[in-house]
Amino acid sequence: MYSKMLSLRFPKTIVNEPVTVNLVKKFDLSFNILKATIYPRKEGLMVLELSGHRKNFQRGIRYLKGLGVKVESIGQDIRRDEDKCFQCGACTAVCPTGALYIERPEMAVIFDREKCSACELCVSACLARAMEVRFNKSLLY
């Protein structure tokens, strides 16, 4: 099982087409949509978690890109300032995907960007404010 949080930007030419459902039908993938918007100029933005077999996942992404959808992984956009982070673990209270977790017995606080859903809960829960959003914040509001 492979799962990734993605942002998809649709050009206005395909915003009316049923794209997401094809990911299920053609590629046996499942999805969880966190946000979907169509902007005034008809471009669309969707933030979703896409899961399935790794090969199917890659085929699905190729399908999307073939249609002209701009696909970006979201996990790469939340960053941790390693100088600021003092490894307490307060963030693990709010992280819903387990991207922030404690490695035992060392008690080191690990940030696994692959698992990050970019929900941003850690950003304000971090005592040291070490978690940074490094992309257009409007993606999630």
């Binding site: 003092f86 490894q87 307490c88 209270a93 709010v94 080191a108 404010r129």
Partner: protein, 395 residues
């Protein structure tokens, strides 16, 4: 023949430090040594045990003197990067408290507030060598006619800067859960509803006061690691309560002893003094403190050998009980359980969340160990011990 009771003095330890023959171990290493060899043998082999803790410690702040200006001012109100400092002392002396938010902070008007910048951040920025905007106003006097000054200062510009924390290194602290039905934002971090998580804040077996539960080796004058530099214990901290409830092993099971500490800000390292923003609660300062425990006898060796599974704290509901001032224990939990990641509460597994950095605490204990081994840090005899438990005195 009865074995002679083993004792050692701080002077003897210092002589060994100077001769390069001192044996220093960190508190977590001492746990294994005492378990394997027993306190008698451990006391004979180990001279000093180093401890450490790194966590938000709200009762912290700095005394600063910003030097006389031309014309002179008797500052009555002072702001550092918009954070008010207490100016009700001499003309150009101020105290900047860790939890003071910037004056224009929206606080909790939109709950939970962010508290992005406060006194703790000012102290961190000073230590990091950053320029700070200083504004002072006054009513003007014959000797100090100036009514207002505005200038940029760095730590190097300040004639005097001392970290003086009224309460650090709490000996124990509550394990916080939330039994209410909504998420709450506390000084113990974010607590999810219906006991969604259990937060705690101590370095357990590494924590300074857990290694000397009756304060037999520390008091006014004890030299310590503070904020990356040498500092001193200058007495019991506020709320120091030696008579808190203790387990059979002498370790308190509720908040007990505290330390008042001081150190020269100019010698400190920003890595060990960090501004903190607590969502919905306020600003604070994470402080690194490490106390060397001299192994003066077998009893102290025994205490330094106590491990996380022998140290307990109370679970307290911060949803309903604590805000009402009726904090009652919902059960005891050991630090070994808390560090494992989950505790059993009311028939459920609850995930645990530390606010205290064990990684940094261990780093402090190791740095202090290195300082002592290399002869850079001598132990200092306390001139007046911290008040201990009345039960210990009558023992």
């Amino acid at each position: 023949m009865a074995q002679k009771k083993f004792t050692r003095t701080i002077n003897e330890i210092n002589r060994k430090i100077k001769d390069g023959k001192v044996v220093v171990v960190t508190a977590d290493e001492m746990v294994d040594i005492v378990k394997k060899k027993g306190p008698k043998k451990a006391a004979r082999e180990v001279d000093v045990v180093t401890t450490g803790t790194f966590a938000p410690m709200c009762s912290s702040g700095a005394f600063l003197n910003f030097g006389h200006t031309k014309p002179a001012i008797k500052a009555s109100r002072v702001w550092l990067n918009s954070v008010p400092a207490y100016a009700g002392v001499a003309a150009v002396d101020v105290y900047i408290g860790a939890t003071e938010p910037a004056e224009d902070d929206p606080l909790n008007r939109v709950h939970p507030g962010q508290f992005k910048y406060g006194g703790g951040h000012v102290i961190h920025d000073l230590i990091a060598g950053k320029r700070i905007n200083l504004v002072a106003t006054s009513y003007g006097t014959d000797c100090y006619p100036n009514r207002e000054i505005k200038k940029k200062v760095t730590l190097a510009d300040l004639p005097y800067a001392v970290l003086l924390n009224p309460r650090n290194a709490y000996q124990n602290y509550n394990c916080a859960i939330n039994l209410s039905k909504k998420t709450i934002y506390t000084y113990m971090g974010v607590l999810k509803p219906n006991a969604g998580n259990a937060n705690y804040s101590t370095s357990g077996q590494l924590s300074p006061l857990f290694n000397d539960p009756y304060y037999l080796t520390m008091g006014l004058g004890t030299r310590i690691f503070l904020g990356g530099a040498k500092g001193y214990i200058i007495g019991p901290g506020t709320q120091h309560n030696p008579n808190a409830k203790r387990g059979k092993n002498g370790i308190p099971i509720e908040p007990a002893g505290t330390l008042m500490v001081k150190g020269d800000l100019k010698e400190m390292d920003p890595r060990w003094v960090a501004g903190v923003s607590m969502l919905g609660y306020g600003c604070s300062l994470a402080v690194g403190v490490g106390v060397p425990i001299p192994i003066l006898n077998e009893e102290i060796a025994l205490y330094t050998g106590i491990s996380d599974d022998e140290i307990f704290t109370r679970i307290i509901d911060y949803g309903k009980d604590y805000p009402k001032g009726k904090a009652s224990s919902l059960g005891l939990v050991s630090y070994a359980e808390l560090k494992s990641g989950t505790i059993r509460f009311d028939g459920h597994d609850v995930s645990t969340v530390p606010l205290s950095s064990y990684v940094r605490a261990l780093e402090i204990a190791r740095i202090l160990k290195r300082w002592i081994e290399k002869g850079k840090f001598l132990l200092a005899e306390a001139q007046e011990m911290l008040p201990t438990a009345s039960s210990y005195i009558t023992k």
